[in-house]
């Protein structure tokens, strides 16, 4: 089988992510604590969500920490930002977009000396596929008062979700513009 062009880049990326996924290291100070969310708790697809990992035994915010993420079957390798929590423990985080169906990820930290340290792999899957279509604002004319009230409530809630995702898209576009211009 011949692998050409853009597929080559894809293939190389997959292999490197896999090699990273498969290796394990150990460093007593670099213990990672992370509590994944449940599938039913995932925000609407495309909206912002954070992945946070806590390092209870260190107080540094400059460690190179990355997340190997497969989101709806597409791989990403993202750097995390460091901060200290209220108990002065290191917390690293990255903002991602909620997937349509599933998300699997693993954190990796590169100590100043020694081998990279990997967390376990976390897998989160929604119990069902959310509807991502834009809200239709048509309200049935022959509905009774109760039905009309319920329908209006449902549509206004869907519109709020549409507004949130469009705002996110516009913000994302601004961030891209800053990088490429």
């Amino acid at each position: 089988m011949i692998i050409k062009g853009r597929n080559k880049i894809f293939f190389a990326a997959i292999i490197s992510v896999l090699v990273a996924f498969s290796s394990t290291g150990f460093c007593s100070n670099l213990v990672m604590k992370h509590r994944p969310i449940k599938g039913y708790q995932m925000p609407s697809p495309g909206t912002k969500m954070k992945l946070k990992v806590l390092f209870p035994k260190i107080r540094r915010i400059d460690l190179p920490v990355k997340a190997l993420i497969v989101m709806d079957g597409k791989a990403l390798f993202l750097p995390l930002s460091g901060t200290l929590d209220e108990r002065d423990r290191s917390v690293y985080w990255v903002e991602i977009r909620a997937p349509l169906a599933d998300l699997s990820y693993r954190f990796v930290v590169y100590p100043d000396d020694g081998e990279p340290v990997y967390s376990k792999k976390y897998v989160v899957r929604r119990p069902c596929l959310p509807d991502t279509r834009l809200a239709s604002t048509e309200i049935s004319e022959d509905a009774n008062v109760v039905e009309r009230s319920e329908e209006l409530t449902r549509v206004t809630q869907r519109l709020r979700a549409d507004i949130e995702i469009y705002s996110n898209v516009i913000d994302q576009l601004k961030e891209i513009k800053e990088v490429i211009q």
Binding site: N7, L100, T137, E150, L152, T153, I163
Partner: protein, 209 residues
């Protein structure tokens, strides 16, 4: 009595044999965009740190325009803890699609493909139907709907304006250049979820390069 014990033993044996056979083989399903080609063959790839296993006998079926579900046969020995699966489609003249999604192949049995997940049911909204001022609430809800509709349509327009001309060209070029292209050109008219996901991937790629 002896016969009953014999039957139960046989039943237990058959049960474990069935479970064993089921666990030793299975299928992994991968979603692939055809990227405009007319596929005649699908190749499944099982990738692990130990190497790549190519499965030329993968089955495929169309799920919607330009999107196919490739079903890769997997034997127990093919997958380890770190194995992922992907696939590509080939046309008659040897053209290949991009690689499809990457899925975890380490737990083949019981795995549901994305397309097999049920659609979420619409929840009945909590509304103030018990309120004696329901008619005034209806008026408020109607106003809220109008305000939100106007706000959404305004954001849509704003996006259309921001994502046009040279900016749109650049974005499409980045998608193509980094192998992120999914077969449907980037456009502000796409489903906002798809837009959000694609722009986030573009941003992640250019930020980390």
């Amino acid at each position: 009595m002896n016969r009953l014990v014999y039957k139960i033993t046989l039943l237990v044996f058959v049960f474990f044999m069935t479970v064993g056979a089921y666990a030793s083989s299975g299928r992994v399903e991968v979603v692939v965009s055809s990227g405009g080609i007319k596929p005649i063959k699908a190749i499944g790839l099982l990738i692990s740190s130990g190497g790549v296993i190519s499965k030329g006998n993968a089955e495929f079926r169309k799920v919607k325009d330009g999107v196919f579900l490739v079903s890769i046969p997997v034997q127990k020995g093919d997958v380890g803890k770190d194995t992922v699966a992907t696939a590509l489609l080939l046309s008659e003249d040897g053209k290949a699609s991009s690689f499809g999604e990457v899925v975890d192949a380490s737990s083949v049995t019981g795995r549901m493909a994305r397309f097999a997940l049920p659609q979420c049911k619409t929840r009945k909204p909590k509304s103030a139907v018990e309120d004696e001022n329901i008619y005034s609430n209806l008026g408020n809800l109607e106003s809220l709907l109008e305000i939100r509709k106007v706000r959404r349509d305004f954001l849509k327009l704003q996006l259309k304006k921001a994502m046009s001309g040279s900016m749109l060209k650049k974005l499409r070029k980045i998608e193509e250049g980094f192998g992120l292209y999914t077969g449907r050109p980037l456009s502000p008219d796409l489903d906002p979820y798809e837009l959000s996901e694609r722009l986030f991937r573009i941003y992640s790629v250019i930020r980390t390069k």
